[in-house]
Each structure stands twice: as structure tokens, then as C-alpha cells.
């Protein structure tokens, strides 16, 4: 039985959320989350690289043919947090794997569990979300009374878990979507945002194609509100003496964004060189930082789920740290070439205390892009 494997396709009644699988783009376009396969056989190699580590294993099909499967096991950063290492498995170790199969005929799957056959020890299972609540405290402040958006002196921390990984208009009733932004029903499309007809058609096309064209899969930066909904969080570095606030992003490709707070006026859209993060001007109103941004290029999706935009995109973001551990984010989207009127979305982001942003780099796996 050591090289024997059974491959059983099952229907999973519920969707299984694996945040690690879409650390760099939607997994639904690659894997069929409603099916399950069981694989058994010896490990042939391990590919321990960002954004997705893979183990390769020989599997004997029911026909008797042995094929080499690529099994995605998630992001190395998350795996290491769970105690995994590149040396946890060795070539020749026989493992039993439960996984979601890739769409089509590829011999590829995303692991739900990996068990070492010799010992029965489960060496991999999806990471459970950490539930430990940080200690409650008021928001830290600068000597002049302004709320600090970053860490208190001598402390570590960053902004991590978001209350929503999707972006829909605030006034909408609850819309059923998966955690990648795929609508349960395309009939709900008009409740997502006030699309112009072309934008609605493009959004529907992206939804129907399971977000497979998402530029973030090619390590394109998560511009706009998406930067506050990507895995691995972000951090504010406030530099009042330089009249600016830097936003350092843990997701994407460790990008940064500059918010000028030195009182300079916002430029005209036509004068600004279009970029992924736009030209951002910030000012404080009480404990809220209000940031006005224009000058976006059209090379990225500004949200999970595929909301389109044009170079006319104008964002007004409001950041309010309501206490030590909570950041309220509100954004007004105004793009008259894409939407029939301005619209708002909001969510909260939780502080991750005593840790730095993990060192994540978006890379294109040589092995994850193959066709088997």
C-alpha cells in the first residue's frame, strides 16, 4: 500500500476558507473548493518558497499509473508560525493528503491536511485564526494630543486582521460572497456598487471567470482600499517633522505609500503621474486623518472581487483609531467614468501587538504556474 493511493472526488457541502491559499490572489480560479481528493504516496520533493509552498508526491492512480502531484500547502510564513519547516517532510516519506483539486485536468491540489503515514502524525492542517484578544487600552497619542496611528514608543505592532476582506457599498444589505469576493449569486451585482453599464459588464466577466485575471496574481501592487484588505497587514510611520506619513504594506510586494501632511494642495488629476497608490494629501480633523487621493493608473484592481476603475478615480479615506486596537477605515469612491455616483464602504482593522509585519515577498512560483 505504500505507493498506493486512492483518489476520491467528494462534494463538500460548504466552502472551506483558507486565507493562506490566497495570500497572493484568489484561489477559486485555481482550485475547485467544492470538491475534495484523497492522495497517498511518497514525497518526492518540497518547494519551500513564497507565496505558496508545494510538496510533490507520487500517487498511484486507480488505473495503476503513477503520477506526480503538486500539493500546495500554503504560505511559508504562515506554515512556520504553525511549526512547519522546510525539513518537516523528506523525500521518501509516505503521506496521506486531503485536498481541494485544481480545476481541469492538472495534477495539482491544495492541501486541507497532510498526515505522515508512518506515525499517523498530522503535520499540516489549515491554520486556525488566532482569537486571543489584545489588551484593551486607549489610543496612544503624540505629545501634542494627536492620535498616533503607529506604535507607541518602545513597542512593536502593526495593523492586521480586517473585519471585511470584501468591498461593497455601505448601504447594501448583506450580500453573500466568499472570502475572495466571489458573489454567491450574480443577481446581487447591482447591490455591490452603483456601476455604469460597462463597469457592471466587466465586473460580471471577472466574477464569471473566477477572478483569474486578477493582476495581484502577477505581484501587481494592491492600490486603493485593497491595500487595507490584503494578508500580512500594514503599518503607519508618522514623520511630522517631514510633513508626511508612510504606509508600509506587508501584503502585495512590501510596497509603501506616502501621504503628505505638510499642507500642500492636491494637484489636478491631469498633472499627476498616474501610479498604483495615487497622489495622497492628508489632514487631521480631530482624531481622524482624512486623505484625498487622485492620480491612479488603471493597472490594478482596487478591491478583492474585481471592482473596476479608471484614471478618474478619486478616493477620500478616513482613518480613525478609536482605541489602541481598532482602526476604523472609511472610503468614498468617486469615479464618474465607472460609477453613476460616489459611494462609500467601511470596515475596521485590528492591531496585532508585539509583532512586526512579517517578511513576505510576492513572488511568482516557478512550480506553481506549471501545467501538469
Amino acid at each position: 500500500m505504500t505507493r498506493t493511493a486512492h483518489i476520491v472526488a467528494l462534494s463538500l457541502g460548504t466552502l472551506i476558507a483558507l486565507a493562506t491559499l490566497h495570500a497572493q490572489g484568489p484561489a477559486s480560479s485555481t482550485y475547485d473548493r467544492e470538491k475534495k481528493v484523497k492522495l497517498e504516496g511518497p514525497v518526492t520533493s518540497l518547494d519551500w518558497v513564497n507565496p505558496h509552498a508545494f510538496l510533490f508526491m507520487d500517487v498511484r492512480e486507480t488505473t495503476g499509473t503513477v503520477t506526480n502531484w503538486a500539493v500546495e500547502i500554503g504560505n511559508p510564513l504562515d506554515l512556520e508560525k504553525e511549526g512547519w519547516k522546510g525539513s518537516t517532510l523528506h523525500p521518501g516519506d509516505v503521506v496521506s493528503v486531503e485536498a481541494m483539486p485544481a480545476r481541469g485536468q492538472k495534477k495539482q491540489a491544495a492541501a486541507l491536511s497532510v498526515t505522515l503515514k508512518a506515525t499517523g502524525r498530522r503535520v499540516f492542517a489549515p491554520a486556525a485564526k488566532k482569537a486571543a484578544a489584545p489588551v484593551a487600552a486607549p489610543a496612544p497619542r503624540w505629545p501634542n494630543g494627536h492620535v498616533k496611528l503607529g506604535t507607541a514608543p518602545g513597542k512593536k505592532g502593526y495593523w492586521g486582521t480586517t473585519s471585511a476582506v470584501l468591498m461593497v457599498e455601505d448601504s447594501s444589505a448583506k450580500i453573500s460572497m466568499n472570502d475572495e469576493g466571489l458573489l454567491a449569486s450574480l443577481a446581487d451585482v447591482d447591490r455591490v456598487a452603483p456601476f455604469k453599464p460597462w463597469a457592471k459588464a466587466v465586473y460580471q466577466f471577472r466574477q464569471r471567470s473566477l477572478l483569474i485575471d486578477d493582476p495581484i496574481r502577477a505581484c501587481v501592487p494592491p492600490g486603493g482600499p485593497r491595500q487595507f484588505q490584503t494578508p500580512h497587514g500594514f503599518q503607519f510611520i508618522e514623520q511630522p517633522e517631514l510633513g508626511r506619513i508612510l504606509v508600509l504594506l506587508g501584503g502585495g510586494d512590501r510596497n509603501w505609500r506616502v501621504i503628505y501632511t505638510d499642507g500642500r494642495p492636491q494637484g489636478q488629476a491631469a498633472e499627476v503621474v498616474a501610479t498604483y497608490f495615487g497622489n495622497s494629501i492628508g489632514k487631521w480633523e480631530g482624531d481622524t486623518l482624512i486623505v484625498d487621493s487622485i492620480g491612479f493608473n488603471e493597472r490594478f484592481w482596487f478591491s478583492n472581487g474585481g471592482l473596476p476603475h479608471t484614471e478618474a478615480l478619486h478616493l477620500v479615506e478616513r482613518f480613525t483609531r478609536t482605541d489602541m486596537n481598532t482602526l476604523k477605515y472609511e472610503v468614498t469612491v468617486d469615479d464618474p467614468r465607472t460609477y453613476t455616483r460616489p459611494w462609500k464602504a467601511s470596515w475596521t482593522i485590528q492591531w496585532v501587538p508585539d509583532e512586526e509585519i512579517p517578511e513576505y515577498f510576492c513572488e511568482e512560483n516557478a512550480e506553481s504556474t506549471f501545467i501538469r
Binding site: W198, R299, P308
Partner: protein
């Protein structure tokens, strides 16, 4: 140097805004051997698509451009002159293919004066 520039260009991310915006390159003709080069520059202002065929001294401004976003068909008309200076009317109808691709295409039928044929242009 040339090689590295090629790779930079090849890796440029796709334009993700209005699918028709940008520069498109291709040709039209009555058959496979008689082809005439086309460069389209199209823009979207929030209300309508407009643009130019073959920008430069012989540029042709697009007239009516009608887009049906339910099936991504596009119809347009333009007026130009032939080699003798006589006015010639252009009308064409095509469909956008591979909507999510950086190098999506528009292909369809082309009529210029009394000559009919086909055209295909690819997003640059």
C-alpha cells in the same frame, strides 16, 4: 540591453480600466493578402468612446462609436479621403475577444467606400 528592454515591455501589467481604452494595432483588407495597417487610439470619457485611426498627418477621427457591453460588440463610422482626394466613408463592426487579456482583440467586418473586408486589431 535590447533583450532586457524586451522583457520589461513583455511584463508590463495589463490595462484594467474601460476595456476599449488604449492603443490597438492591426489591419483590414478584402482578403488575406491585401491588408492595410491600422492603429486605433481609443478613449472613454465616462459617456462615450471616441478615438482616432492612424494618428498623424493622415489621421481619421472616429465618428459615431456604439458599444454594446452585453456582448462587447462595437460599431463605428468615420470619413476619410482616397488617394484622389474623394471622400470615402468607413463603417465597421466587431467584437471584443479575450476581454480579460492584456492583448485582447477586436475583430469583425470592415467597409471602406465600396470595398468590403475584415479587420482585426489587438490591444497594444
Amino acid at each position: 540591453m535590447v533583450l532586457s528592454l524586451f522583457f520589461v515591455a513583455a511584463a508590463a501589467p495589463a490595462q484594467q480600466g474601460h476595456p476599449l481604452t488604449g492603443t490597438w494595432i492591426g489591419d483590414w483588407g478584402p482578403n488575406a493578402t491585401q491588408r492595410t495597417h491600422l492603429t486605433f487610439v481609443l478613449t472613454w470619457d465616462g459617456d462615450k468612446v471616441s478615438g482616432t485611426i492612424n494618428p498623424g498627418p493622415d489621421a481619421i477621427a472616429l465618428g459615431n462609436v456604439a458599444v454594446n457591453v452585453t456582448n462587447w460588440t462595437i460599431r463605428f463610422e468615420a470619413d476619410t479621403k482616397d488617394k484622389s482626394g474623394s471622400p470615402v466613408h468607413i463603417s465597421a463592426e466587431g467584437r471584443v475577444e479575450n476581454l480579460g487579456s492584456a492583448h485582447r482583440t477586436i475583430a469583425g467586418s470592415w467597409r471602406q467606400g465600396t470595398t468590403t473586408g475584415d479587420f482585426k486589431i489587438t490591444r497594444d
